[in-house]
Symmetry: C2
Subunit: 600 residues, 2 copies
């Protein structure tokens, strides 16, 4: 235990990080209340108690004690003594220490000499802030957000000043900043936060992220991330098995998000068919065409721009009224592109579109891709999670025929941000496409099997550890736990759909039960219901969702997204991935929309 090492038993709270006054050492008055206090402190928790005792043994003059006991310990001490040892003479001596972080600075923390005590106190204080936040996040009487406009926050809120300065601020101010940052933020884990595809606050995932940041390492080599590198390999293999590739064969990597994962897929497809582009650039290839649905995520378009293909060479495919690609349109456009002398390179099939939650018919698309020798990518950033559900995975039927798959556990599976995987059926392509063999990282003459140094597959160099929280959640929930979560979310969206499909004032954006948890609908305030369909009605309806959303945010009660789509005016898009949401929260959302929209 470090607690028994000499370096850890002294402490300091002076602002300059100075040591305890040597004159006071070993001057404890015989028979003082020190022993009683220490015995009590010892009881608080075994480890904290030992720490406090060690600390007092070194710093036992009254003055020193007063200076050094910080608020966390002080509360402990004060409460303990009131309970157990009223003979200690009240709490006067501890009074000053309520403010002790005001005399502590970052420079007093580890690795500073005697920095262990303040470090532990500071971290525990932070944890108290965080655990309080966690508790309140799940408490429906807490607001989802406390909305302020940018100029308000920039002007500074009651001592919360965002400006950076030359001189350090005390740890007390830092703790205030932590509290305020959370106060003015948005509780994405709140049971009534439905605004994005990523919602919820998984406790095991959170613990995993805390550990990840404490380990603070980098995925590029086994050398400095042995456990995480192996976890990534095993987890990717498991995901490939679930996709349906034999024995989980293939390759993959975790990337900083679905957009980057989708970008990988285009890069790999290009490398597969035109590997010389890597060295010679796009001039070495004919005109390459990408295909994706008009409902697909904009990251495919971002990738076509970034990678030098050009957004005009991304052909948008027609969808049916539920947002699913019409395969005949794909084939027609493939033929058309070929007739123009272009080369159809890549088709993206979306498994779970962003707005409608639609699943493109993968098998029919795969038939066309096989016929014309085109790379098939499945963007399952949002819908990939349904592969974990025996009940719902049929929606991705044919995914095993894809050449690559994007799957974001940070969306439907509730893993904290960021956690996105790109899976590739053919081994070696990722490496071939991206490797540059940097000598300073990927030395071939290491003592271990360097095939575990997977960093050269990435377009990144340093790469954040995104795997641990996911691995830990999988351990903690089991595959069945993810399945239950997904089934529950889909049940909830069915509940919402059934609740509003025939309800007065509502109109569904598309007919039929949604494929994913996306429920898209218009709400007509009473004043609009009597107006005949037409331009005036459309214009007024277009303004309803933004107005209700603004009022929601200002009252802080719930959050849900809205947008127009094609010719359709603004509608609400409800999505459910939050494990904390229940039917009562769905009911609340509807009540809230009606309450706020009543008089529009």
């Amino acid at each position: 235990m470090a607690a028994s090492a000499p370096s850890s038993s002294a402490s300091s709270s002076s602002s300059t990080g100075g040591e305890a006054d040597p004159n006071t050492t070993n001057l404890r008055p015989p028979g003082s209340s020190y022993d009683a206090w220490c015995g009590v402190a010892h009881g608080c928790t075994r480890k904290l108690g030992m720490k406090i005792c060690g600390f007092l043994q070194k710093n036992n003059s009254m003055e020193e004690r007063t200076r050094m006991v910080t608020s966390f310990k002080e509360r402990t001490a004060k409460n303990l003594q009131l309970t157990c040892d009223d003979n200690m003479g009240g709490d006067a001596r501890f009074k000053r220490s309520e403010n002790d972080f005001s005399n502590l600075f970052a420079r007093d923390l580890l690795p500073a000499k005697n920095g262990e005590e303040p470090t532990m106190q500071f971290l525990l204080e932070v944890v108290e802030i965080l655990t309080n936040y966690v508790k309140k996040t799940f408490d429906r009487s807490t607001k989802v957000l406390d909305f302020h406009h940018p100029h308000q926050l920039l002007e500074g809120m009651e001592g919360f000043n965002l400006e950076l300065s030359e001189q350090p601020e005390s740890l007390e101010q830092i703790l205030v900043d932590c509290r305020d940052t959370l106060k003015y933020g948005v509780r994405t884990g709140h049971p009534r936060f439905f605004n994005q595809l990523s919602t919820g606050l998984d406790i095991v995932g959170l613990a995993g992220e805390w550990l990840t940041s404490t380990a603070n390492t980098n995925m590029f080599t086994y050398e400095i991330a042995p456990v995480f590198v192996l976890m990534e390999q095993l987890t990717l293999k498991k995901m490939r098995e679930i996709v349906g590739w034999p024995d989980g064969e293939g390759d993959g990597i975790f990337s900083p998000g679905g957009a980057i994962s989708n970008m990988y897929s285009v890069m790999i497809a290009r490398y597969k068919f035109f590997p010389e582009v890597k060295t010679k650039g796009m001039t070495a290839a004919p005109r390459l065409i990408l295909f994706t649905s008009e409902h697909s995520h904009y990251s495919i378009k971002k990738a076509s721009a970034a990678l030098g293909l050009g957004t005009e060479n991304l052909i948008l495919l027609k969808t049916d009224e539920r947002g699913r690609v019409i395969p005949a349109d794909l084939e027609a456009k493939v033929i058309e592109a070929k007739q123009k002398g272009s080369v159809p390179l890549f088709v993206n099939a979306t498994a779970g579109t962003t707005v409608y939650g639609a699943f493109d018919p993968i098998n029919e698309i795969a038939d066309i891709c096989e016929k014309y020798n085109i790379w098939l990518h499945v963007d399952g950033a949002w819908g990939g999670g349904l592969l974990m559900s025996r009940k719902h995975r049929h929606k991705l039927s044919g995914v095993e025929r894809a050449n690559s798959v994007t799957w974001n556990p940070h969306k439907m599976m509730g893993v904290p941000l960021q956690c996105s995987a790109i899976l590739v059926r053919e081994r070696g392509l990722l490496q071939g496409c991206n490797s540059m063999c940097a000598g300073y990282l990927f030395q071939p003459d290491k003592q271990y099997d360097v095939t575990y140094d997977t960093g050269d597959k990435a377009i990144q160099c340093g790469r954040h550890v995104d795997i641990f929280k996911f691995w830990l959640m999988w351990k903690a929930k089991g595959t069945v736990g993810f399945e239950q979560h997904i089934d529950k979310c889909l049940d909830l969206s069915a509940y919402l759909y059934n609740k509003i499909k025939n309800r007065e004032g509502y109109e569904m954006v598309f007919d039929g039960e949604p494929q994913h948890t996306n429920v898209c609908f218009w709400y007509f305030p009473p004043s609009l219901r009597s107006i005949p369909n037409g331009e005036e009605s459309r214009e007024r309806l277009h303004k309803v969702a933004p107005k209700i959303k603004a009022m929601m945010m200002e009252s802080g009660t719930t959050m849900v997204g809205y947008q127009p789509q094609g010719e359709k005016v603004n509608f609400f898009r409800m999505v459910i991935s939050n494990p904390a949401a229940t039917m009562s929260d769905i009911d609340f959302l509807i009540e809230e929309i009606e309450r706020l929209g009543q008089d529009l």
Copy 2:
């Protein structure tokens, strides 16, 4: 306080998350030891105490109490009672609860009914693991790593099994997994970890990461990350001021690492000169040429491959013997490219090369870029931090003439991974280059000033919050704190250089004091010192660094990098960015190299 809400005062430790047996409610025997226990518990910490008391008031039969008190509280209770209340009848009743996490599962945590107590206990247990890890990380008697080969970890170490399974594991196992993950990892914050450019464990940065994961939000809109979006803007502005752009004008974004930041710079340069590439692809541009030093980071090459320019169109520039670009070589190659009908697009000047730590002469390069109208990017991923130091920032003299700058606070400034900024002098380019105006995120009809929705500038969609830890560290240290850290690291590297430059058995890879903290040297074991220079000597020397490194890792005492460079055989590259390192650690490294290399 949530603690006083009805939902938080009950608890459960049963594996199924069941509620307390209603039959036991309010059946507390009068005069039982409940009051004494509660009074004591109350003393532990104010909040924990209240929680425990609330919990006992609701669940006060002996059986319930026994079932529900988990190990964290149990230790508290046991110690307290031993100290303060020996009449309570010993600790027999609490015995079972040492193992209570074995009956708790992820499904028992929040948002489960009665999940608050187990959640708090679980998180506190995790924090205990993490704070112990933090303490040991700074303790020099702790190993830097406990090395195992991949096959050993894959086979499973004493109950640490990496395989994922169908069924959930208990929280006790999850806690074991957390401990083991740290045990078999690498302590990148250890004072003797010198292996990468990113080292150290900053306590305030760590607290910032813990908060970031607890907030678990996404940078794409002000709507869901109001505080973080503003912090990013203010911090980027401050960085641009430090770069030297008037009033900090310009643009920028935090990206998932230096490689992506460098990729941004190439994309933006291309967009500035050939905006039609965005829509039409690379065929709309002439042959574009990029220039970078042969010592520059491999991410420039990765970018040229990914973006469709081709690695052959990346021209490597000659350097002097210290690894700095020779400007005359740049000009000659620019002229040559133009003569061949290509268009010189982009020059990367490195501020702090990866291996030598060299700073390219930015002003001389900027003169050439201005003369030929070429985009100048400065890759200060590693060396950018020196801008914070009045003593060392002259090494980046001319950086204010750059069109874009990469600067990774997660390297020299000790910010936890990931934290990398791309700064752009001209406003609007990032947006123009990358925006796709996704309607579901960037609605123009929001109630707030939507110019704060910065997500469309990114090539990502979801984007991790990398700013908060950095902002918090800046608040806590002040600009002066970063300066002190940087000056100290450079002093330490000067100390190392002076120690070994004339020491027997050492040879410097290049002459003169290093510009950055990189100290590159060969160590000749005694057996090699008498061998004349030649092929045999080279071959044997080439094997020395890998062998010593392997022994270092197996003994776990320290870690330092090595690599070959060009014609030069393997040499050690020492880098110092770790705030915990002292002269004694430098001395230790040298002793260790000599101890391990003695008999080679």
